[in-house]
Symmetry: C2
DNA sequence: TACAGCTTGCTGGCTAACAAGCAAGTTGCA
DNA sequence: TGCAACTTGCTTGTTAGCCAGCAAGCTGTA
């Protein structure tokens, strides 16, 4: 764990107490363990020791395992939502053509997912019904992403359904290879770790999306 | 459970013993429970009672929970592989143009997944590292699907990589909406159960794929 | 044909491990 | 000193796996 900071007196506090820091450590550890092992297989004992606190501390701060799960999901999806909003603002400010923006969105989303394996794992597990259900937790990010796409493509209400399909396709294309990087990809001869796989994949996906909507913009 | 068959004497045997039938019942129950609840959350007691046998019987036939998991995966992927081979043969025999065949493949794959939620759940869980790892189990089906696509599109060796990306895209587009039908789809205003969602979605995916490869065949 | 002897299918009791949650105790800090 | 921030012991429940045993029914023999 992180080495304890030196107190003003210069002495090393052996058991420094810091509720905020402990909470965050627990959330971090739980996020990692829930995402990688799943709700059942990640015990509160594991979470505690990964967070550098005792077995009982996760329960002390979060009340129950189910509440800890919820807190992890909420923090994670809040981050995803913030990323969507940031991406939207960047796109709106850029004054580029929709094609260029879509390509950038695919690019950024790919990188975003690659940097956040925990988010991918958690959402995946939630979709599979792992852990207590909190069905509303992904809604805000989805709605905002959809609104951003609709606005960006200049679609009217009648075609927002088309935008939803397009968004779903983009997400599918970026998401699936992350989840199945160690199972399906090698089975068809692709190596997610190869030097230029990501670049190659991005190009392929951008190509599909742009050809797919060619002539249907505005 | 299935009603016991009538013995030659006409009497109903109370405890009909039938190893083959018990094995299949256990595999069926385990497939369902592993897929829906995950490896840890599905206990051997649950499997036994869902299969109409005692708590100890799954262990008797399969040795351990890990072995049962493997047996379930193997049966499931064997079925998937058979479906790939059947689809390939149908396509080869049809003499249709590649575009038509690709559209049919998307169509059939969509329906195949919709009819086999257990396969989807199991492969998803395997990708997430749930249960003991058997990394080789999906390989045969993937290889054969890839070979079929390459042959069908008339790609040479140099372009088999392109075919792999195309296959990956098709699978991603069909797969993701199945897994996230109750989470992501409603978040972007789509309803997987709506009357014509499937038709609409198929059309969208076929459109993407065909536009994406337009002018790159042969 | 009958029946002893054996195999095989299946059950359920037992155990050791480990889980979550609670409550009582301890320690550092304002 | 008082309270918040923890830890530790305990209870209760659940699990996988082992094992002894029972019963169905086959097989060889007379």
């Amino acid at each position: 764990m992180a080495s304890p900071s030196v107190s003003p007196s210069g002495r090393q506090p052996v058991n420094e107490r810091n509720a905020a820091r402990s909470r965050e450590s627990i959330l971090d550890a739980a996020e990692r363990l829930f995402a990688s092992r799943g709700y059942d297989a990640a015990s509160l004992t594991d979470v505690g020791s990964a967070a550098g606190v005792s077995r009982g501390t996760p329960g002390y701060f979060f009340g129950s395992k189910a509440e800890l799960w919820r807190a992890v999901l909420e923090r994670c999806f809040a981050e995803a939502r913030a990323a969507v909003l940031a991406g939207r603002d960047r796109a709106m400010a850029s004054n580029e053509k929709p094609e260029v923006i879509l390509a950038a969105v695919v690019n950024d989303y790919f990188d975003f997912l690659a940097e956040r394996p925990n988010l991918v794992g958690l959402m995946e597990r939630q979709a599979l019904g792992d852990g207590p259900e909190y069905p509303d937790v992904a809604r805000a990010a989805g709605q905002e992403a959809l609104a951003a796409i609709v606005a960006e493509l200049g679609f009217d209400d009648r075609r927002s359904r088309e935008a939803a399909h397009l968004l779903l396709s983009m997400v599918s294309l970026c998401w699936f290879p992350m989840v199945h990087a160690r199972t399906y990809l090698p089975a068809i001869g692709l190596d997610a770790d190869a030097k230029d796989f990501v670049k190659e994949r991005k190009a392929h996906v951008v190509g599909l999306i742009l050809h797919g909507i060619a002539g249907r913009l505005k």
